[in-house]
Amino acid sequence: MGAPGEFNLAALARYGNDFLAEVEERVEEGEWVKMCMQCGVCAGSCPFGPDWEHSPQKIFMMIRAGKRDEVLASDSMWMCTSCYNCVVRCPRKLPITQIMHGLAAYAHRLGLAPKMQPTRRWSLLFWDNCTKTGRVNELKLTLGLYFMDGIVAGFKQAWTLRNIGLGMLLAKRLNPFELIRGHECKDKAGIHRMLKKAAEIEARKRGFAKP
């Protein structure tokens, strides 16, 4: 992946102000955006509806209106919890959840996603944790989440949940030695090769620079 700023400038140079075309080519399921008929059922179905800045309906309208900066810097698509209510209800059968995640990933790739957005940070934490060994190290992931906002906040969180942790330890659902050297996938190198290949394919399909 090239430097984010560079990548954004390249995208701008390629699509100019035709943001819809950019979304159609580069965002996962982006070719569906033009099929939205603005009924608003997605906005009404979303359990997080009141907490978003822009509903999916508005996001689609903004994409068609060419509001590139506003869409990509929005934290709306990061708020999606993947409940799929909108996908089930959309009369036009748009894969709205997938589009939301596609937009989020694309905004992140461009470096335009809101830096401190908690979902974005959590996603990165999870991705690094998971891809390193090919397996999720739950202890490290949990601790990473606890200490995401600093040491004091981390200890506070750990203290609040101490009984649950203890219980898990006694039930052998939590192995403290994972902290030192977690278990790994048998063919770690193979996983890494696979991820690299997937990134290559994505870059080729979406017209990104080679990773």
Binding site: K34, M35, M37, Q38, M61, R64
Partner: protein, 740 residues
């Protein structure tokens, strides 16, 4: 005709025999009803029972039959005896099914049954077998006014059914608006792209058919007569007049586009690049057949961006423009956007809409346009400004709730709507239409009620919008296509087909001297005793169908073929000289008088219910079928329409000691459901004046009540009756008992 011979039959089937004393009812028919031949039967509608009646008709010479069994709406085929007058006493749906089967209810239930038998016998004595309208016309040709898609389709469909057609078109060419289109909205799968209009094939089918006489450059100078014998004087280009006799008329005079010059705020007239949808069609017809792209009219420049403005001068609530949606324009804009996208996907096409309305299979067409990359923006356009060869379109984005604009639009297409070409407003002949022009008459009818069809709303020609869309208030004249409501080609074709079939039915019924819809097949017609007439003109004014003209001395002249047999004239007549052979002031009056009125101290009130036979009476029957009980104090008489209710019935009933009168008719007003359009409304206004009469009789105004009832009011009606019975209980029994 030989002397009348009366017979009455009391059926004991369906539980009637167990619930009421049939011997007593039979005795009442014999003694009080003075019926010579009275029989009881266990199961009257079975083959044996029907054969019994038939044999009495044949061997005993019975001419009038009263059947005390089920509702007049049930077993109509079994109890059909041609040439015999028939009265029915409704003992099943009207009595045993609406009464509880208890010992204490038995007495009042029996009284109810006895009264219905009395009423049927009394009605029977006043009935004659209708002979049919002698003033029949024999022409079955169909006159089609208008040679657009609706008119051409009507002509072709009439020919397919085997009827000859006379087609009159004002323009020099046939085809109307459709002939001016480049392509049309698809009506078949896959609804993906504009298709050929097919109008040439339609024109060829009409011009090559020897059974269709086509007059182009022609108008109707006068239309007179009635169904089966209309005379149309057709003014042709040479100045001469041709006369054609026709049986029925289809008016398919279509629409004019709303004049876009009334929309200067949307850039109309400011730049040749701002046009209405017809303007774009003409550009497409010039360029597309040669395979050339559509170019900017102002300078012939390349078109890179087109903006379609929906609802231009439509759905306007300020009162300045059309208040309604024309229904076809969203699909048309989608089609026109495809003209560009199909030729060159790089052209930017934006449709700005507030609500995209795509009837029929338009959703598929809309989806296809989205796939092709037509942009749909939900917004309302606030202004179009021309500068140089492009325009700036400002609008309010209704999703993002902000002001926005589209710059450098090469073409702006305004989706203006349809204004009906429906002729003059007969209530206000000087009125202008929505385009500000004063219409000229289309049909030039010589009716006293005016030269054209009445208008329903927004200047569209008459239509019984909710129940029978092709029916107008002029019998034998049917409106089809955009003249009666805004519509597209597919709908207009369907409309024309329906209307022409109604026209054929009207011509056929006229030949047989029968009524047209909704009393199709009815042989009775109004008979007036002119020696009693006071020339008050109420019947001529109130007839909803323009069936009655006036002679030089302002006596009414009935045109039976134009009559729908609703009886509104009979209800209107203050001197009671209008009647039908089987339905008259006397036949209903006799039923009212036949009811046995218990005295003032009996605590048994009698409530007369006059129920419209189209909606209220079936609803009462269905209440019975569902065993929804109601008061035993009501006596229901079905009437053809509440409009046929003569005030004398009400006065007679109250004088005769009835405690209250409930009148049940259909919904009236703008969204009326009255089969006869104005009947229930007229009845309502007549009854609003009855309170004065009640006061002079020293009676409470509550004693007459009018209700709007729909056929679905199966549960509501028993409640209404119950509530009214309580009102009567509260104000007490009528003091008029015992004087009649």
């Amino acid at each position: 005709m030989a002397d009348p011979k009366y017979a009455a039959y009391v059926c004991k089937g369906c539980g009637i025999g167990e619930r009421i004393d049939a011997d007593q009812s039979a005795k009442i028919a014999e003694k009080e009803g003075k019926i010579a031949l009275v029989r009881q039967h266990e199961f009257l509608c079975n083959a044996e029972g029907v054969a019994l009646i038939r044999s009495d008709i044949e061997k005993e010479g019975v001419t009038h039959v009263a059947i005390a069994a089920c509702s007049r709406r049930a077993k109509t085929e079994a109890f059909e005896f041609p040439g015999v007058a028939l009265a029915r006493a409704n003992l099943r749906e009207g009595v045993i099914w609406v009464r509880p089967d208890t010992a204490e209810a038995r007495e009042t239930t029996q009284e109810m049954a006895d009264d219905y038998v009395r009423m049927a016998c009394a009605e029977l004595k006043k009935m004659k077998v209708p002979a049919g309208n002698p003033e029949t016309g024999r022409s079955k040709r169909i006159l089609v006014v208008g040679g657009g898609v609706s008119g051409l389709t009507a002509a072709v469909e009439a020919r397919n059914t085997g009827y000859e057609v006379v087609l009159v078109e004002k323009q020099a060419q046939l085809g109307g608006w459709a002939a001016k289109l480049w392509k049309r909205i698809p009506e078949r799968e896959p609804h993906a792209a504009p298709v050929d209009t097919g109008v040439q094939a339609l024109i060829d089918a009409v011009t090559q058919d020897a059974g269709i006489r086509v007059y182009t450059n022609a108008t109707l100078a006068q239309t007179s007569g009635a169904p089966g014998r209309f005379k149309a004087s057709i003014a042709v280009e040479s100045g001469s007049t041709a006369t054609e006799e026709v049986g029925a008329i289809v008016q398919a005079t279509g629409f004019s586009l709303y004049d876009m010059n009334r929309l200067p705020e949307l850039g109309a007239g400011k730049s040749p690049n701002v046009m209405d949808q017809a303007g774009l069609e003409s550009l497409a017809r010039k360029a597309a057949p040669k395979g050339l792209p559509i170019r900017r009219p102002s300078d012939g420049g390349e078109v890179k961006r087109v903006v379609f403005v929906q609802c231009a001068g439509q759905r306007d609530d300020t009162g300045k423009h059309l208040p309604y949606c024309s229904g076809y324009c969203c699909n048309t804009s989608i089609k026109q956007a495809m003209y560009f996208k199909d030729a060159n996907p790089a052209v930017d096409t934006v449709v700005i809409y507030t609500d995209l309305r795509v009837p029929g299979n338009g959703e598929d067409f809309y989806r296809s346009a989205q796939k092709k990359g037509v942009t749909f923006t939900k917004g309302s356009v606030t202004g179009v400004e021309a500068s140089g060869d492009t325009c700036r379109v400002s609008f309010r984005d209704l999703i993002l709730d902000e002001d926005a604009s589209i710059e450098a639009a090469d073409l702006v297409v305004l989706a203006t709507g349809q204004v009906a070409n429906a002729g003059v407003d007969i209530d206000n002949p000087q009125a202008t239409d929505a385009n500000g022009t004063k219409p000229i008459s289309i049909l030039n009818l010589d009716y006293r009620q005016g030269k054209d069809l009445p208008k329903l709303s927004h200047g569209f020609a008459d239509s019984h919008f909710i129940c029978f869309p092709y029916e107008t208030r002029r019998t034998g004249i049917y409106a089809a296509g955009p003249v009666r409501r805004p519509m597209d080609i597919a709908q207009a074709k369907e409309d024309a087909t329906g209307a022409v079939l109604k026209a054929i039915q009207a011509a056929e019924n006229a030949e047989l001297g029968r009524a047209a819809h909704p009393r199709s097949g009815d042989l009775s017609f109004p008979i007036v005793q002119l020696e009693g007439c006071t020339q008050c003109k109420r019947c001529t004014v109130e007839c909803p169908f323009g069936a009655i003209d006036e002679d030089e001395k302002t006596y009414p002249v009935f045109n039976e073929s134009r009559c729908r047999r609703c009886g509104t004239c009979m209800g209107a007549c203050p001197v009671r000289v209008i009647s039908f052979e089987n339905y008259s002031v006397d036949s209903v009056g006799a039923q009212i008088k036949a009811v046995d009125i218990p005295d003032e101290f009996s605590e048994k009130p009698r409530i007369l219910v006059l129920a419209c036979e189209n909606d209220a009476y079936p609803a009462l029957d269905m209440a019975g079928m569902q065993r929804n009980h109601y008061s035993a104090f009501v006596r229901v008489i079905p009437v053809r329409c509440l409009g046929s209710v003569n005030t004398s019935w009400i006065i007679d009933a109250l004088n005769g000691g009835y405690d209250g009168v409930m009148m049940m008719g259909c919904k009236h007003g703008d969204d009326y459901q009255c089969h006869f359009v104005k009947g229930s409304e007229l009845a309502n206004s007549r009854m609003s004046k009855i309170s004065e009469t009640l006061k002079t009789m020293a009676l409470e105004t509550e004693r007459v009540a009018t209700y709007e009832v729909a056929i679905t009011d199966i549960k509501r009606l028993p409640v209404l009756i119950g509530d009214y019975a309580k009102v009567i209980e509260k104000i007490g029994l009528s003091p008029m008992k015992g004087f009649a």
